[in-house]
Symmetry: C2
Amino acid sequence: MKDVNVGICGLGTVGGGTFNVLTRNAALIAGRAGCNIRITRVASRRNRDDIDLGNIAFSTEIFDVVNDPAVDVVVELIGGYETARELVLAAVRNGKHVVTANKALIAVHGNEIFAAAEKAGVVVAYEAGIAGGIPVMKAIREGLAANRIDWIAGIINGTGNYILTEMRAGREFTEVLKEAQDLGYAEADPTFDVEGIDAAHKLTILASAGFGVPLQFDKAYTEGIASITPYDIAHAEQLGYRIKHLGIARRRDEGIELRVHPTLVPKSHLIAQVDGVLNAVLVDGDAVGQTMYYGPGAGDEATASAVIADIIDVARIVASESKLRVPYLGFVPDALENLDVLSMEDIQSAYYLRITALDRPGVLAKIASILSEHGINIESIMQKESEVKDGRIPVIILTHTVQERQINRAIEELEFLSDTDGPVVRIRAENFN
Amino acid sequence: MKDVNVGICGLGTVGGGTFNVLTRNAALIAGRAGCNIRITRVASRRNRDDIDLGNIAFSTEIFDVVNDPAVDVVVELIGGYETARELVLAAVRNGKHVVTANKALIAVHGNEIFAAAEKAGVVVAYEAGIAGGIPVMKAIREGLAANRIDWIAGIINGTGNYILTEMRAGREFTEVLKEAQDLGYAEADPTFDVEGIDAAHKLTILASAGFGVPLQFDKAYTEGIASITPYDIAHAEQLGYRIKHLGIARRRDEGIELRVHPTLVPKSHLIAQVDGVLNAVLVDGDAVGQTMYYGPGAGDEATASAVIADIIDVARIVASESKLRVPYLGFVPDALENLDVLSMEDIQSAYYLRITALDRPGVLAKIASILSEHGINIESIMQKESEVKDGRIPVIILTHTVQERQINRAIEELEFLSDTDGPVVRIRAENFN
């Protein structure tokens, strides 16, 4: 297996996450990439006590990374505009592929950077800059490439969405903002987030890739959420709408709409249900219709997930000897593991049980004791006198997670009880945590 | 620009959609792919009156496509197992790349097909087989490649989800199934859909790409929705859960869980809100956490969107002269269009207006008449006597879609009225249709 050498510039939140995930999942990532992705150099203003770099070369001078002939891929995670721009352009000039999480850089200097990279024949990838861990740029640039994209609408700033979500309980903007700052969701200077500038950076990039137009951040319209009141949120709800801070880009014959502002969206639409710090991007294409991409828009490892996906994309190009960029199942054949499929008795799940019981005293206790004997804990139980019919009453139970084997044994005993009638209805339940 | 020649086998629903979208969006697709994707051959048992093939070679013998030396990419859209298997293996032997929408084929014969393709050094792509137009295989094989995928849970059969959605209104399974058949959502023999076999095909593929294990369809557990009753749906709702027909794959140290069955999911989770014939796949990765991919899981052009994305992926490899598989913004630089960003006065939107009116007769009429003069139609209006305060009352209006210019002029006049007080609150609204 070939090696692909990565140099990381910046060891902050995302830099640390990228280092940790690349290290932790090295073997799995090699199985997917078809090569070993090695971190060979790290540069950052400060080293971090909580990260063990081992024998990886460390420097406080970030340009050391782009000047290291052994580095194949430069990962720019320093943020900001001017130094990042110089760093990326220097890397490109040196023939290195670049992966960045810096949306501000791409939105503002992307046209210049892409032109330089095109000339140098290198990749500049930026998935992590838009909606964190959600692979939405890949969806737009590749997955939806057959479509004329008509519009894109996204909740692409988690801070703003968190604030609007909390305000639905009747709380004022300033109060929730302060809480968001205390929780670390919002910066001490929250302008970038709550005024929509951060979202406009992302929207600019989404629009360009969606519509095939150059980046035009300076023409994006931004309106923040500071003037939104609980009163308007409540009245929008009464009209059947929820207020979200959306980035909206729409392609029209005369030009494109590029705007970030508070927006009423129908409560019945899936995007209205995206709450808290989460992100979602809704894309409308002429062939596919509406698709939506949802997940964490920030966070060290969530953003690192996208940074590393870009690194793997580059590595699959650099290291591949054949036309097979992505292996059939996403792993090279030798990396496939012969894991068995477990029998259903071995799976783990919570369960909804409906037991038809005879309406007599003590039945509930017997049911509970059978479940308990089989190590099954009850989350909820429901039995309503109003549902008695022909001397029978349904007992509905939601269990905690157990092995299916335990449930099967318990059901056998429950059905055998003289206090129950007919088969027990069993439906599996998932809490996704 | 190079040409990449495509041969389509099968001109049914998806074949027709693929033909139509490739033809309609040819220029746009060339701008994204960096080459001209030309349909040079079509084979199908029957020709279609509603599709104009022009001078494209047509044959009723599908093997003509795989034996045509000019064809670079064979698109298998005939469905079924044995003939499709022979066709794909023949294409692979002839050194052709293959794109298929056939999940049954991949789930059952994928291991054999991928081994043959690996040997021949060709791509076999199958995005369209799983969740229709949603690029979820791309997300798993590429976008989330940094992650150890822990589990995948999906609503991956639209028919089943439609039936369960309708049953929430208290209707019985058999009644809704019949309706789904009348609407064309369900086949005359609905076994594949309602028994979970179709979902198990898709889940098998999702699990293999997620966990890096060979395809093991024969070991998947399937349980259908025919035994679900409105009674259990209602009681699950009371417990805070919704019943969905999920495919669930979970990676455990001892093996993998691979199962399709009705499942209670928390109503508060986004996947519980996915209704009707739509699909959604939820993926949990160790770095990114939970991401979800949502959209149409079937339909001629939605599925074609994924088929063509795979063709473009292949074309970007075949035609690319540099390492730059995907252009920076997803379009080759020459294809970027210099479309202007429109001024906000030129955008189109619906609007929520909150006007503080003096509580006196005739004010509402004045407001309505100003809106009407500016060509603004009202969707809803809300004014509650209980909200009168200091002689003032809020009037809340939701408009139909207009130009922002119209709203701005109307607001100027509304604020100028002696019957109103203070600025008009204006929030934009989107209905996403």
